[in-house]
């Protein structure tokens, strides 16, 4: 049915347009880094510079977590010597930075994104795969049912009509 296919497309759009995903950037290797390219879905919602600043800070924080230097070597050697039992008592450097990232994201949400109606999710909740911005539907009248869900109502109406014949 033609109406069925339209319905699918619209619902598909309705479903996936509600979240904007920023994928990982692997151009620097396997380190955790997210793309700083501004997604088109957020054009009307958030300032480009603000977005890039947020992403850059996030990338810097993850780089700090994964930094290989004197401090990480010391921690690694100490852990090895204690057969890694030391991590029962203390947190790893990575975990400390992850907490810092969580605080940063909370602060960003409170100060910048919540007033714009967006929600930035912590990538660790998505397995460090994506940073997601949850975007409210753009075309709703009452804020709940987007246009796409109004149109599907024609379909059962068509069924009603056809079965009545």
């Amino acid at each position: 049915m033609a109406e069925a296919h339209n319905l699918q497309d619209l619902q598909h759009q309705a479903a996936v347009a509600s979240k904007v995903y920023v994928q990982r950037d692997y151009n620097s290797g396997t380190i955790c880094r997210f793309q700083t390219k501004f997604p088109s879905e957020l054009e009307a919602r958030v300032d480009r510079q603000q977005f890039e600043e947020t992403m850059q800070t996030l990338n810097n924080l993850y780089a700090e977590a994964e930094k290989i230097g004197g401090k990480s070597y010391l921690e690694g050697c100490l852990a090895c010597m204690t057969a890694y039992t030391i991590f029962l008592c203390m947190e790893t450097h990575y975990e400390k930075v992850l907490k810092k990232i969580a605080r940063f994201i909370k602060e960003q949400n409170e100060k910048i994104y919540a007033p714009l109606g967006l929600l930035l999710t912590d990538p660790i909740e998505r397995g460090l795969r994506v940073v997601s911005f949850t975007v409210p539907e753009a075309h709703t009248n009452k804020g709940c049912f987007p246009n796409a869900t109004i149109i599907p109502l024609y379909v059962p109406w068509a069924l009603v009509k056809s079965s009545a014949l």
Binding site: A15, Y73, A83, Y94, A114, G117, L119, C144, F145, P152
Partner: protein, 497 residues
């Protein structure tokens, strides 16, 4: 008609902060009498969890127990039969060093076996849909019967072009150096190999433990072998006519046999992994010859730091990344979870589906309720039948839609409990095999269309990938009220057109 729908509508209205107070509708409906479930209980991979999610291993652990027995028996015999002689005749430091080595070996073995190797969690349905959209956009429309090209993205890392493959099971583009372990059915970061001796995959998070295990084990076997040879009980036994002659000989025999073979195999393996660490390669890459100059003249390893010492330090002393799968976390009602039917975890799906509500999915489900409510009086079908589907075609085709969206595509695995994989369809499923086959049929690898396509009335559940929660809602009396309200609202909208 009563249009007092503002409250439900407001609840449903998107509010980025309202995830905190979102679940009043569903928690009032689903009285949680059962204990909250942890994420390991619905983990989609083929792993085993012990100690309430603290321990994670592969499914086949028989060889791991063999490893453990071999180490403990050999060391036990050494400590029992050889150490008293060596301690008294040579130095007591020998049993002490042996003891320290033994404890270290076991510690590293347990750490390598029981920890998460670096499993990448599967994509949530929303993410998978977003990726599919991006792939469609880049590939363009495809006709029926056309098999899309393999999904590959290319990145340039340190001047080398690396191909990132799309994993159909996990629905993600695998990061560089990650690979999908077919035994554990997980994508693992920096995948080295699946080690049956250790009973787990060896990946980013447990590679150093695995390396230290084989290194310390080779020291231990050499240590035991050397001192067992040094202490020759046969001479003692024959001269002293000791009653312990036979056990001593057996102990010697066993120790020599195990140690001899272990020395060559374990030492060889340690040497191989030392080479891999110093060149910053994984076993997987080495076997495939990914960075070999035989492939291309200008082929080089883009991950290497340039010198052996830095490579070794990075592999062994680098920061330890956290587990991404959060196996002991509680399942949050507002967090979308990838659903799987494998590993017998499907029995928890109904709980998961009931508890995984998200505001936007409320809206989508409300839409579905409208469809169903509008169609119900026409067809006089059981509301359960319409869980996630249009009512027109019961049977294979209607079951395929939500089912395909519910479960990750695993065409190579016969689904043992396919019915439970789609909670809402549990009651409608008459033929699990049919469902399984149909699911197989609509897996993304096998159909030209990018995602599973229901053949009947389009199913919001399918397209949104969140609607798998919907069928569970049908059993909830509280949601029936909202269904009626929503259907009324929908009909009012229709009449106003």
């Amino acid at each position: 008609m009563h249009l007092g729908l503002d409250e439900p509508v407001r609840e449903c209205q998107y509010n980025p902060i309202c995830t905190r107070n979102s679940s009043s509708m569903e928690t009032s409906g689903h009285k949680k009498k059962r204990t909250p479930r942890r994420k390991w209980q619905i983990f989609p991979g083929r792993n085993r969890f012990y100690c309430n999610g603290r321990v994670m291993m592969a499914r086949q652990t028989g060889v791991f127990y063999l490893t453990l027995i071999l180490i403990m028996v050999t060391s036990g015999l050494f400590f029992a039969f050889d150490c008293p002689f060596l301690a008294s005749n040579l130095t007591p430091a020998i049993p002490v060093i042996g003891g320290v080595l033994f404890v270290f070996v076991l510690g590293m073995l347990f750490r390598a076996s029981f920890s998460d190797p670096g499993v990448l969690p599967r994509a949530t349905p929303d993410e998978a849909a977003d990726l599919e959209r991006q792939i469609d956009a880049s590939n363009g429309p495809s006709g029926p019967g056309y098999r899309p090209p393999p999904r590959i993205r290319e990145v340039v890392i340190n001047g080398q072009t690396v191909k990132l493959k799309y994993c159909f099971t996990c629905k993600i583009f695998r990061p560089p150096r990650a690979s999908h372990c077919s035994l554990c059915d997980n994508c693992v970061e920096r995948f080295d190999h699946h080690c049956p001796w250790v009973g787990n995959c060896v990946g980013k998070r447990n590679y150093r433990f695995f390396y230290l295990f084989i290194l310390s084990l080779s020291f231990l076997t050499v240590f035991i072998f050397a001192f067992v040879i040094t202490h020759d009980p046969t001479g003692q036994a024959s001269s002293a006519h000791s009653k312990t002659a036979l056990p001593d000989i057996l102990s010697l025999g066993e120790s020599v046999l195990v140690c001899f073979f272990s020395v060559w195999s374990i030492m060889g393996l340690s040497g191989f992994h030392t080479y891999l660490i110093s060149s910053n390669q994984t076993t997987n890459e080495d076997i495939k010859g990914s960075w070999s100059t035989k492939r291309a003249k200008d082929n080089y390893n883009p991950y290497s730091y340039g010198n052996i010492l830095t490579n070794c330090c990075a592999a062994l002393c680098g920061p330890l990344p956290p587990s991404l799968i959060d196996r002991r976390g509680f399942i949050q009602p507002d967090t979308p979870q990838p659903v799987s039917h494998s590993n017998g975890s499907c029995m928890y799906n109904s709980t998961q589906l009931q508890s995984h509500m998200c505001d936007q999915e409320h809206c989508i489900q409300s839409t579905k309720f409208v469809l169903q409510a509008a169609a119900t009086p026409l067809l006089h079908s059981d509301p359960v039948m319409m869980g996630g589907e249009g009512p027109t075609l019961p049977g294979k085709s209607s079951l395929g839609g939500p089912c395909a969206s519910l479960t990750p595509s695993q065409p190579s695995l016969p689904s043992s409990m396919p019915g439970l994989g789609c909670a809402g369809d549990m009651l409608t499923l008459r033929d699990p095999d049919t469902h399984c086959h149909h699911h197989h049929f609509v897996s993304p690898e096998e159909t030209p269309s990018p995602g599973p396509m229901p053949l009947t009335l389009p199913c919001p559940a399918h397209m949104t990938h969140g609607g798998h929660m919907n069928p569970a809602q049908l059993y909830d009396p509280a949601s029936q009220d909202s269904l009626h309200e929503d259907s009324v609202r929908g009909l009012v909208k229709l009449s106003s057109v």
